[in-house]
Amino acid sequence: MDSPDDFADGAPVGRDGPAAPAVRRTSSAFGTPGLDSTVRRHDLNDVFIRHQDATFMMRAAGSDMHGAGIDDGDTLLVDRALTARHGSVVIAVVEGELRCRRLERPAAGSGRRPPVRLVADAPVAPIEITEDTPLEVWGVVTTVIKSLL
């Protein structure tokens, strides 16, 4: 069965799947200190998924965000619970489509309001946010998973 917990090569990561049991049951009369439930193996979910119910994974297609460390085929962790700020790498809805861009929303100084834009980290024209094309942030990209194989 495919599972979101398995990385592409099929090796279970971070969870105790049946393929690689992390806990071996024994019937030692002296108990098994290794089974103390407070001891847990490193689990990527603990570190990278801050909001379990609001985190989604997406696959990047294209290289417009190369400068942000995102390349074609990378897996993105997207947290919808976070609020996008100036400089956040976000998933935005642009013309009915999901797009990965960096949010540019400089703090309002004195005088006129600086423009809000979704910019690429490559020489690609930015997407200007105007009244006709309101900003619709889907989620904030928190992590990039890059396979070296």
Binding site: M1, D2, S3, P4, D5, D6, F7, A8, R15, D16, G17, P18, A22, V23, S37, T38, V39, R40, D43, H51, Q52, D53, A54, F56, M57, M58, R59, A60, A61, G62, S63, D64, M65, I70, D72, D74, T75, L76, R80, A81, I91, V93, G96, E97, L98, R99, C100, E136, W138
Partner: protein
């Protein structure tokens, strides 16, 4: 005080989260077996598409009105439901997941302004999952359901009800006059538990609105209708007759769940509980003469034990073919637990939910006895069906669980479960549960 939260046009909303181009368009979700419209966007409702209407009857709207149809993606809906339910569970100590998109919360003892809490919860669900919801508060579950109904119609049809009740409606802070006005504008069929036939009978007796029902003579009604209606009426009058986890079963899904007295930390404990739920749900399935196309399994820690590390699992497993076979359902449940279980957590609640229910064409038991004799001979029941019937009969006679399948039993066709052969041309990707189907984003 109870709250009922439910997802607006839930299946359609799930589809829209990952396909934003569907926003604002008429969209229907078709059942996987017979192509009936099992969810409709508001725009599709405005086109006149009726609930459960067969696709072939509305197909022409594809060309003439831009209607978009997608096949049901139960795996996606199951996961989005899990996320929604987990967020809702943060807002009250007790939750009853009533269906895939509805849950009751017990708000007794909650001192804050309920409408404010309801709006906060609604905003959190929308932000974190993208699913719009409606929230109703009432002194009984029936009233909470009705308040939810009004929250929804006030949102959808401005002018029918006061705009202040849109999205979140709390009966508890309305005056009697305001309530009477609402009830007078609400058809009696909108009441939870008042079915189509009861509605017809009530209307024939001049009872058309909820207010009519509330003012009807209870003894007359009692003579004419079942004890169920009397219970409903008492609930409408504010006397709680249904506690949490005590609801009439819906037919669109079957849910069996339980909170554990002592948290479970070992996989065996979860396996045992979930197998039991699957088996009980399968029994109900056969009682109502349905088969399930998918089984959902969930188990979670308690958000109210702040010192505990939190984890919740909620997976939906589509079945290779719709079934009412206890062993097949148990096998799927077991696989779900074995792949998702993580050590180091104190699980407080678990459940099994059968969805994508389809009729087998015959209900079990006496119905068959009255089948016309000259009906073409039915195909000989397969041995497994016979086994299930025998098992149910024994359990009915000698008490629940006199006979049951071992939780490790592997169905003879168990290998099928691994072959997820769902042929659905219009189904969207299983964005959140399949590694190779995740949403692709232009970067």
């Amino acid at each position: 005080m109870y709250a009922l939260i439910d997802g607006n046009n839930f299946y359609v909303s799930c589809e829209r989260v990952f396909a934003p181009r569907l926003a604002g368009k008429p969209v229907v979700v078709l059942s996987s077996n017979d192509g009936a419209c099992i969810a409709r966007s508001n725009e599709a409702k405005d086109l006149g598409v009726k609930m459960a209407q067969p696709w072939f009857q509305v197909r022409h709207l594809e060309k003439t009105a831009g209607l978009i149809a997608v096949s049901a993606n139960h795996e996606l809906y199951g996961d989005m439901s899990a996320r929604m339910m987990a967020i809702e569970a943060r807002y009250a100590p007790r939750q009853e997941v009533y269906s895939i998109d509805e849950s009751f919360l017990d708000f007794d003892g909650v001192r804050e302004d309920r409408v404010a809490v309801g709006r906060h919860m609604r905003a959190a669900i929308l932000k974190e999952t993208g699913i719009p919801t409606s929230v109703g508060f009432g002194a009984t579950k029936t009233l909470a359901k009705l308040a939810n109904n009004i929250a929804k119609s006030a949102d959808r049809n401005p002018g029918v009800h006061p705009a202040s009740l849109a999205q979140v409606c709390d009966f508890g802070r309305l005056s009697q006059d305001a309530l009477d006005a609402l009830f007078a504008a609400t058809p009696v069929g909108a009441v939870w538990g008042v079915g189509r036939r009861t509605t017809e009978k009530l209307e024939a007796g001049g009872i058309r609105t909820v207010l009519d029902l509330l003012r009807a003579d209870i003894t007359t009604l009692r003579r004419q209708f079942s004890v169920v209606l009397e219970k409903t009426l008492r609930e409408l009058h504010g006397t709680s007759c249904m506690a949490l986890d005590d609801a009439p079963p819906t037919r669109q899904q079957i849910l069996v769940s339980r909170s554990f007295g002592t948290p479970i930390t070992q996989v065996d404990g979860i396996l045992e509980a979930v197998s039991e739920f699957a088996s009980r749900a399968a029994e109900r399935l056969r009682q109502q003469g349905s088969v399930a196309g998918a089984i959902g399994i969930y188990f979670m820690t308690s958000p109210f034990r702040a010192s505990d590390r939190q984890h919740s699992v909620n997976v939906t497993i589509p079945l290779p073919r719709p079934t009412d076979d206890t062993a097949a359902l148990m096998h799927a449940a077991e696989m779900a637990v074995r792949t998702q279980f993580r050590t180091g957590f104190r699980y407080a609640k678990a459940g099994a939910i059968l969805t994508d229910l389809q009729s087998t064409g015959h209900e079990q038991g006496e119905l068959d006895l009255f089948a016309p004799v000259d009906e073409p001979a039915a195909p000989a029941p397969d041995p497994r069906a016979k086994l299930m019937t025998a098992m149910d009969a024994l359990n009915n006679r000698f008490g629940r669980d006199s006979v049951r399948l071992g939780s490790t039993a592997v169905a003879t066709n168990g290998a099928d479960v691994a072959v997820w052969a769902m042929k659905q041309e219009r189904r969207s990707p299983r964005y959140t549960t399949r590694w190779d189907e995740m949403p692709v984003v232009r970067a």
